[in-house]
């Protein structure tokens, strides 16, 4: 397993993508740090960029990587190694590189210009989202034989969770404005990893007061130990579920 991971990592690090992505993250972080001195404003801007960029890049990169490495996967499957290990080494290498890019990209400017706990949570959310979308992308990849189709499915995951879902939630809240919606909204937030990440982060920055009664309810929930535990658990489920589904399909897949 570790041997396989070693070779998978070696191959992925050699591709120029990892370097470019890290560089891009560093540039984004540096430019935002230059604009403002206020730490909470910085983390808010970083959050907004991250919530758009990270899922998109993770989904696209993981899908293309899966198909570019199909030869390697086939080669490994004819060797005396477990199918599970072949799959895990591939996906872990992708997740590792994506997370490393965020940690270095956002972390280096933080070390230079200071950070607080909210920025660390931001890093955690970034890694979490990378894992979730890499998992979804691998799921899309193992379900199809065609690279273009798989990229299409991965992109629709991104569009759905980043854009369509929010519209749907807004519509629901707007049309049911006469009812108490705190708990249903909370449940809806849990069904979308991007929203979950956003809410966890927003609750760290004292701006929830701007969000009215629901904001206060959220603040109360996500501020409590139970809320933090539950929301991290849900995030964790989001990280595990697509990967394990993809692995189940991979184990039965024909090459």
């Amino acid at each position: 397993m570790f041997k396989l991971l070693k070779y998978a990592l070696y191959d992925i690090v050699k591709s120029r993508f990892a370097l470019l992505y890290t560089l891009f993250m560093v540039l984004v972080a540096i430019s935002i740090y230059q604009v403002s001195e206020d730490m909470s404003k910085v983390s808010l801007s970083l959050l907004n960029i991250m919530l758009m960029i990270v899922p998109l890049i993770s989904a696209i990169f993981a899908t293309t990587h899966f198909f570019n490495n199909l030869e390697f996967t086939e080669l490994m499957l004819a060797q005396p190694v477990k199918r599970r290990d072949v799959f895990l080494s591939q996906i872990l290498a992708v997740m590792f590189v994506l997370s490393l890019a965020i940690v270095i990209g956002f972390g280096v400017p933080m070390i230079l210009w200071g950070a607080d706990s909210s920025v660390l949570i931001l890093l955690g959310i970034g890694i979490g989202l990378s894992v979730v979308f890499a998992g979804l992308a691998f799921l899309a990849s193992v379900l199809t034989r065609d690279k273009a189709k798989a990229i299409g499915i991965s992109l629709s995951f991104w569009i759905y969770f980043s854009l369509v879902y929010d519209g749907f939630v807004l519509y629901l809240i707007y049309s049911l404005a006469d009812y108490p919606l705190e708990k249903p909204t909370l449940a809806l937030v849990f069904l979308n990893p991007v929203d979950l990440g956003r809410i966890i982060m927003l609750m760290q920055l004292d701006i929830s007061a701007l969000m009215g009664y629901t904001g206060a309810f959220f603040q109360d929930f996500f501020g409590s130990a139970k809320g933090i535990l539950l929301s991290s658990a849900v995030m964790f489920v989001w990280m595990i579920l697509p990967v394990s589904a993809a692995m189940r399909v991979f184990k039965r897949k024909d090459f």
Partner: protein, 247 residues
Amino acid sequence: MISVQQIHKKFGKLEVLKDFNLEFESGKSYALMGPNGSGKTTLIKIILGMVIPNAGDILVKGNSIKGSFAYRSDIGYMPQIGRYPDNIKIGQLFSMMQDMRPDIKKYDMELASEFGLMDMLDKPMRTLSGGTRQKVSASLAFMFRPDILILDEPTAGLDPIAVEILKNKIIQEREKGRLILITSHILSELDELTNHAIYIHEGKVFFNDTTESLKDITGESKFTTAIARLMEWSLKKKQIKTELSHV
């Protein structure tokens, strides 16, 4: 040594193998023949566990391959088209494969050195020609002295000198009592290398016996014409079937 038991495989609606049974014994060398798309490569991939059958089982050395992976260290496999990661170098590929089999310490580098691969160990795979890739595949298949050798169109794309080297190696391994399974469309080559003929037609075993009895049955003295006769028969059988179905 390999026992294929009632294998059934469908790709979508296409039935590639139907109720497929075969026995491969050690010390024999088999020629696996059949028209394009008759299921030869699928059968090989099922034995290797790369394709999972819808029904049936495969026993390698008496053990089912379901959920097992260790048995693959007994198999040297040379694919039809060897595809390797672009960034990896020949030397790294060799050491990676050796890393996968920690129990085996002594390697058979004879083919690699005869093919001249030892002088180009730091060449990345993407710069290699198709023939050189085939040489790499062949060297890997023989490197660990496996008991079972599965060679899918081994000489396709190789130059005549390399073909001779590979043939000699196959004959040498055959004499050591290994099980050898070769698919090819070059019949003269199969005549030289194998002593057992298996002909697959539309997902079923059409013929399975020694080369001598093949010649006896068809009444031909040459292997190539005997196979040609076999192909005629298999096509005739199909014609009769379709004629009947139109009645």
